[in-house]
């Protein structure tokens, strides 16, 4: 009998298990809209091919006495029509199933992933490979003109390791990443948190010096970027080390040079994991501050599905708006979101806080597709000072830039890993840990109004991108949230919420349309009434259509 590989779940992922609930099953979705109706048979073939390259995605989640662990399995994934609500639960205790699903609906290919398995960046790699494989099967005559060309531009300045499974040799950042370079890239192993933040700092260690140098470089570049922010359709060159696996890899969140907030973790509520140990001792002052934070309330959807509203807009127009205010896209959109929530709440003096995940691969090169992100929290009190959109955006930008630096994040994560490695916590049985973590999660949820996540601009390899329109990115949410992603000049901002109400989305859209941005809205139906309307329509219009 082959002994199955297994690996303990990394630290951010544990939080997803403790924090998942009926309303928020901690599932996120990445989707690609093709220029034709998706062919399920070819998609299945493409999935099988891609699946081979990602041993991590073979994993099932199991429960030990003290920890959860991922274990290799010989299950095979199936492509299905999209019959479930967006971000429907994937992981069920005691049921050994794969932790992702691939679906198709009309022109869309959707990949849904349980967040304990992978983060937004990791899933984007998978989706890119899947769509690439699919396009190659669907349009066999089209070949990439020069496979090396993409790789060359993409990998410039990157410092991650090349994709070993693809065999593209160039490893520009080999010296930085002594370990990861020799591992199969999307293997089950590879907890980058442990790799970077557990080891004791060894003065004089080459890897550390290299990394420190890299960090400084990245920051220098950051500063340059913040001065001369570029449009999304400008230079696609990466700033960080995340995406340079090979030519086919997306710029995975990193492509948006105008944007520091590369997200990896799609989800906002796990920030808590990383914040928790730091917050605990600080105690009262923060608590009293947090108590005032406004929390959006509303009517739960009838079957607790996620309310999804997708806003698609020209990326360049929004980036121009952000640039006019002198901020990067993520914080501009966050400021608009804050303003929208404030208007929807019809309340002037609110304190709003958002959690923003940051892709750690941009500071700490890693090719692991497992979770590797940290979250930061930005806040704005609409009590004093200038409250116009631009001023708020600039305040948030300053706040965010201060928090999303390699040093700040490293300190935070080291503290968190120390906390995780604490003997008292280690010998605590898993169910107790779950209770503890979900308590911490609830406590930090009280200090958050919304969540924001931006995967940035994605660049697909040449023949593929011609067949792909907009991309979609959304995540199950315990509070109103938006996820942004852009491709082919179209920015998709997808709002998700556990509530039926869409007031904040309306205000968000109106702020942007008021500024001259053209928006198209696609919304999922969640209430009985909305669905009844759709099915009536369908019976009238297309009797042959499958009712599901």
């Amino acid at each position: 009998m082959m002994r199955q590989h297994w690996v303990r779940l990394d630290n951010a992922s544990n939080m997803f298990l403790a924090a998942r609930s009926d309303v928020d099953p901690k599932v996120f979705r990445l989707g690609a809209e093709m220029d034709h109706e998706v062919d399920p048979a070819l998609l299945h073939k493409a999935l099988e091919k891609t699946y081979e390259k990602y041993p991590l995605y073979h994993a099932v989640l199991r429960r030990g006495v003290f920890w959860y662990y991922l274990q290799d399995s010989d299950l095979r994934p199936e492509v299905t029509a999209e019959l479930t609500a967006p971000c429907a639960p994937i992981y069920q205790a005691d049921r050994r199933t794969l932790l992702f699903r691939v679906m198709h609906h009309r022109r869309r290919i959707s990949l849904e992933v349980f967040h304990a398995l992978s983060d937004g960046t990791g899933a984007l790699w998978f989706l890119t490979d899947l769509v690439t494989a699919y396009v190659r099967l669907r349009f066999p005559t089209e070949r990439p003109t020069d496979p090396g060309a993409d790789g060359a531009t993409e990998a410039a300045g990157g410092s991650g390791a090349a994709d070993a499974s693809d065999g593209t040799g160039a490893m520009p950042g080999e010296d930085l990443d002594d370990l990861a370079a020799h591992e199969p890239v999307h293997d089950l192993t590879g907890d980058s948190f442990a790799h970077y933040f557990r080891r004791r700092r060894r003065p004089g260690s080459d890897a550390w010096q290299a990394r420190a140098a890299f960090t400084q470089e990245a920051e220098a570049e950051d500063r340059v970027l913040s001065v001369g922010s570029r449009g999304a359709d400008a230079d696609p060159g990466p700033r960080d080390g995340t995406g340079s696996r090979d030519g086919t890899s997306p710029r995975d969140g990193t492509g948006s040079r105008d944007d520091t907030g590369d997200v990896a973790g799609a989800d906002g509520s796990t920030e808590d994991s990383a914040d928790a140990p730091r917050r605990e001792p600080v105690g009262r002052r923060r608590l009293s501050l947090r108590r005032r934070v406004y929390r959006v309330r509303g009517t739960r959807t009838p079957d607790h599905r996620t309310r999804v509203v997708e806003l698609t807009m020209p990326a360049a127009a929004v980036i121009a708006l952000a640039r006019a205010e002198g901020v990067a896209l993520t914080m501009y959109l966050t400021a608009v979101f804050f303003e929208a929530v404030r208007r929807a709440a019809e309340h002037d003096a609110l304190t709003l806080a958002a959690t923003v995940p940051v892709n750690l691969r941009q500071f700490f090169p890693s090719t692991s597709a497992r979770n590797f992100f940290a979250t930061t929290r930005v806040e704005h009190a609409y009590r004093s000072g200038p409250n116009d959109l631009g001023a708020v955006a600039r305040t948030l930008e300053r706040d965010f830039r201060a928090k999303a630096t390699a040093e700040a994040l490293e300190g935070k994560l080291r503290r968190f890993l120390r906390f995780e490695r604490h003997p008292a916590l280690r010998i605590m049985p898993r169910p107790v840990k779950d209770v503890l973590l979900s308590g911490i999660n609830r406590a930090s949820n009280r200090g958050l109004s919304v969540a924001v996540s931006n995967l940035g601009r994605v660049v697909l390899p040449e023949p593929v991108s011609d067949h792909v329109g907009r991309l979609a990115f959304e995540v199950s949410a315990v509070r109103p949230q938006f996820c942004a992603i852009s491709h082919a000049g179209r920015l998709t901002v997808t709002f998700t919420s556990p509530f039926v109400e869409t007031d904040h989305v309306r205000e968000f859209a109106r702020i942007l349309t008021g500024a001259g941005v053209e928006i198209s809205v696609a919304a999922g139906r969640v209430t009985g009434q909305e669905l009844a309307e759709a099915f009536e329509d369908r019976e009238g219009d297309e009797p042959q259509e499958d009712a599901s």
């Binding site: 030990g64 662990y69 997708e310 599901s548």
Partner: protein, 230 residues
């Protein structure tokens, strides 16, 4: 903009799909320029689906409360009440059966695991029952050894017939074997009236332990290392 999109004038947005009212503000939408040619929504309409898990959870919790209450109430009934004997046995039997059924439903996905639960629960219930009836040690003498031995045999058969992988059952088989060794402790402490059942059960378990060690000792150690990883 696009011909197939309806438009909300108030929000200034185009709306994909067949919405008649704006999904954002609820205002009536302006029909697309070419009616009947609406761009279909990229998001499917998924019928409402109610998860039974919440209902099930409520039922399980209520049942557990009732079963627990049934067991506790017995403490208040003094053993000497005449005419209550049969009634009480039926009551206890129903409560025990219900408990076992609940457990079997909950742990149905792993038969070896559910057997461990069964042995523990049934054993404890019988000991408690014995205690309620004024302790004549029938539970330790007969029930526990028979329960352990038969469960062990059952698991060994099931594992073989269902071709369950070693890693899947080894921890639970091991636990049953260890539970099966407890009658030997009772025997040593002199808590039993007739030594034969305990001795037989103990012998069977020692034998099984040897077999497990020989056939899948390393798999067992691997599995334990995984599950007890600190």
């Amino acid at each position: 903009m696009s011909a197939g999109l309806s438009r909300c004038v108030d929000c200034g947005v185009d709306v994909e799909g067949t919405w008649s009212r704006c999904p954002l503000c609820g205002a009536a939408l302006r029909e697309p320029q070419e009616p009947g040619e609406r761009t279909p929504s990229p998001l499917p309409d998924v019928p409402l689906r109610f998860s039974r898990s919440r209902l099930l959870r409520a039922l399980v919790l209520t049942s557990l409360a009732l079963v627990l209450a049934s067991f506790l109430v017995q403490l208040l009934i003094s053993p000497g009440v005449s005419g209550l004997g049969v009634l009480r046995s039926v009551w206890l039997a129903v409560a025990s059966l219900w408990l076992v059924a609940l457990m079997a439903v909950r742990k149905r996905r792993n038969i070896a695991k559910s057997t461990v639960y069964f042995v523990v629960l049934a054993g404890l219930v019988c000991v408690y029952w014995d205690f309620l009836l004024g302790w004549s040690a029938w539970s330790l003498t007969y029930v526990v050894p028979i329960l352990c031995a038969s469960s062990l045999l059952a698991v060994m058969i099931v594992v073989r017939v269902m071709r369950i992988e070693v890693g899947e059952h080894i921890v639970y088989s091991g636990l049953i074997v260890i539970l099966g060794l407890t009658p030997l402790v009772f025997l040593a402490l002199g808590w039993v009236n007739t030594p034969l059942p305990s001795a037989l059960c103990g012998a069977l378990c020692v034998l099984a332990l040897g077999l497990l060690q020989l056939s899948s000792g390393s798999a067992a150690r691997h599995e334990l290392a995984k599950r007890l990883h600190l």
